[in-house]
């Protein structure tokens, strides 16, 4: 056992440690991807559902280009939320309940590399969705390529960080896996209905509109809609960026503060 002490210096040279970190994060990421496609229910809820909604609502509103111009960026916003917020809240509760988080914590895998793998998986889903939605918009729903792709990327990235942090934060409040869908959907479903995913948010009645104004999704959809349909830049959506940033700060603080590795039942 002495050779262990000789072989392994306490501090690895920074570059070697960094490469090892990257290698571990990459491995975890690939594992998450593989598991994602093997779990049909998760793949359906977080991945297929927004695309199904896009197909259905696209078909229903196919006569009205003005409606399609709302639906396509609306579904893009919904996708950001479902691939990050809903997916992470579900997954983390599952991993916590099953004791998988606790097991991973007992290994030398750095926490940051583990989180990077899980987050990378969610971000990949978001990116795939954005590509599919933009392509479907162009091919079937008369929405041209995004007028301001840079702004679209900025909003997607900010939306991902914002909703991912809120998803992690929500997972702390969910007592067990059986109740996770209820907790996630009681937030997700009302928010997508009042935030202008399926129709222009300006047509929502006053009180609901006021609530939507405070929540992040409406602002994400506004930003995406501007970038995708009207070629509006970042400067046109200062308020939207500010609201998303505020929710990101809150979500991150709650996500870090409440983080627990083990099931609350134990």
């Amino acid at each position: 056992m002495t050779e262990h002490a000789l072989e392994r210096p306490q501090v690895l040279p920074a570059t070697r440690a960094d490469r090892r970190w990257l290698g571990l994060a990459w491995r975890q990421y690939r594992l998450e991807r593989r598991m994602f496609w093997r779990n049909p229910s998760a793949a359906f809820f977080n991945f297929v559902l927004p695309l199904l909604f896009l197909a259905l609502f696209g078909a229903i509103f196919s006569e009205e280009q003005a409606d399609l111009d709302v639906i396509v960026p609306g579904i893009a916003g919904m996708s950001v939320m479902s691939t990050t917020f809903s997916a992470l809240a579900h997954n983390l509760v599952f991993l916590r309940e099953r004791g998988i988080l606790k097991r991973m914590r007992g290994t030398p895998l750095p926490t940051s590399a583990y989180v990077a793998g899980i987050a990378g998986n969610a971000v990949t889903n978001t990116a795939l969705q954005m590509v599919l939605i933009v392509a479907a918009g162009k091919a079937f729903f008369g929405v041209d390529w995004p007028g301001d792709p840079g702004t679209m990327v900025v909003f997607v990235v900010l939306g991902v960080v914002c909703f991912a942090s809120l998803g992690v934060a929500l997972s702390h409040a969910i007592p067990n896996f059986e109740s996770a869908p209820a907790y996630v959907n009681i937030v997700f479903l009302p928010v997508i209905f009042i935030s202008g995913v399926f129709y222009d948010a300006d047509n929502v009645p006053g009180v609901l509109r006021a609530i939507a104004e405070v929540l992040p999704l409406k602002h994400l959809v506004d930003g995406l809609s501007g970038a995708m349909v009207r070629a509006e830049g970042i400067a046109d959506h200062g308020t939207a960026l500010a609201v998303l940033a505020a929710w990101t700060v809150l979500g991150t603080a709650l996500a870090i503060r409440g983080f627990g590795w083990r099931s609350s039942a134990r």
């Binding site: 056992m1 002495t2 262990h4 392994r8 306490q10 571990l24 491995r27 594992l31 593989r34 598991m35 093997r38 779990n39 309940e97 099953r98 004791g99 998988i100 606790k102 097991r103 914590r105 007992g106 290994t107 030398p108 895998l109 750095p110 590795w261 083990r262 099931s263 134990r266």
Partner: protein, 283 residues
């Protein structure tokens, strides 16, 4: 090999609110030995082990695991420790081999995956999805995941709880093979026969305190006490004595003089079980 202990615990306390789950525990595990922490449910075994694993913070006391304070959660320590916990699950959608392979990649000098599968008795099940495994098979996978990093020290928290006798026997074989590999093992159990069969030394814990410690054989002797049982006709007799030689001579002499036989005659020393029940009996 340095002559330091693998695990040192001095005056360990853990308080949950007003309840003190661990109240001044001391013990020491030597390198290469299988140490059993034996006690009834709720005695503080799992809390103690989880503190040693770095999963829980201690309230006070000194703890050293392979020269590290586990509370600091150094990667250099986690690379050298394998953990089998009751409360840890596995990814349900991976195969057994994928799971073990993934964990192997997390350690700097892992063992060969196939070798570990064989060691854990999972050789035939490498391609099976983990969610299709039986309880006993899942626990074998727990072993495999804990061993694949080639740890020096292995924590086994109640490794056979809920096992059928065959799965239990297999798990015991795995623990013995760990000892043969020169690993240090800290085993918690509430089964006496398990501690007796596997551990080089045992500490009995009750209400958060160590009430006895020693080799199972030493604990089992519990002084010069022997128990003699026999039947005469339909009647059963049992008695305890400190001098079985003299007492047996009397008994057999009397029986022979009367032309009788002592049916089912046995002489036994109190087992660890008797000592355990005495030590952990509630007043």
């Amino acid at each position: 090999m340095p002559e330091t202990a693998a695990i040192e615990v001095k005056d360990l306390h853990k308080r949950y609110g007003s309840r003190e789950a661990v109240r001044g525990v001391d013990f020491c595990v030597k390198r290469g030995e299988v140490f059993g922490l034996l006690g009834p449910n709720g005695a503080g075994k799992t809390t103690t082990v989880e503190i040693l694993e770095g999963h829980r913070e201690r309230t006070s006391g000194h703890v050293s695991v392979l020269g590290h304070d586990p509370g600091e959660r150094a990667a250099a320590l986690r690379e050298r420790v394998g953990i089998v916990l009751q409360s840890c699950g596995v990814y349900p959608h991976l195969t057994v081999r994928e799971s073990v392979g993934h964990f192997a990649a997390l350690y700097p000098a892992p063992r060969d995956v196939d070798e570990v599968l064989d060691l854990a008795g999972l050789g035939e099940l490498g391609g099976a999805r983990t969610r299709t495994l039986s309880g006993g098979q899942q626990r074998r996978l727990d072993f495999a995941l804990a061993l694949v990093g080639d740890p020096e020290l292995v924590f086994l928290d109640e490794p056979t709880t809920g096992f059928d006798p065959e799965a239990r026997r297999q798990a015991w074989e795995t623990v013995r093979s760990l000892r043969d590999l020169g690993k240090t093992v800290l085993l918690t159990t509430h089964y006496l026969d398990e501690a007796q069969a596997l551990a080089d030394r045992v500490a009995i814990i009750r209400d958060g305190e160590i009430v006895a410690e020693g080799a199972p054989s030493e604990l089992g002797v519990g002084g010069e006490r022997y128990r003699i049982t026999y039947r005469r006709g339909a009647e059963s007799f049992a008695e305890e004595t400190a001098d079985p030689t003299t007492r047996l001579h009397q008994l057999t002499g009397e029986a022979l003089a009367r032309g009788q036989t002592l049916e089912g005659l046995t002489v036994t020393q109190p087992s660890l079980e008797d000592v355990y029940l005495e030590l952990t009996a509630r007043d």
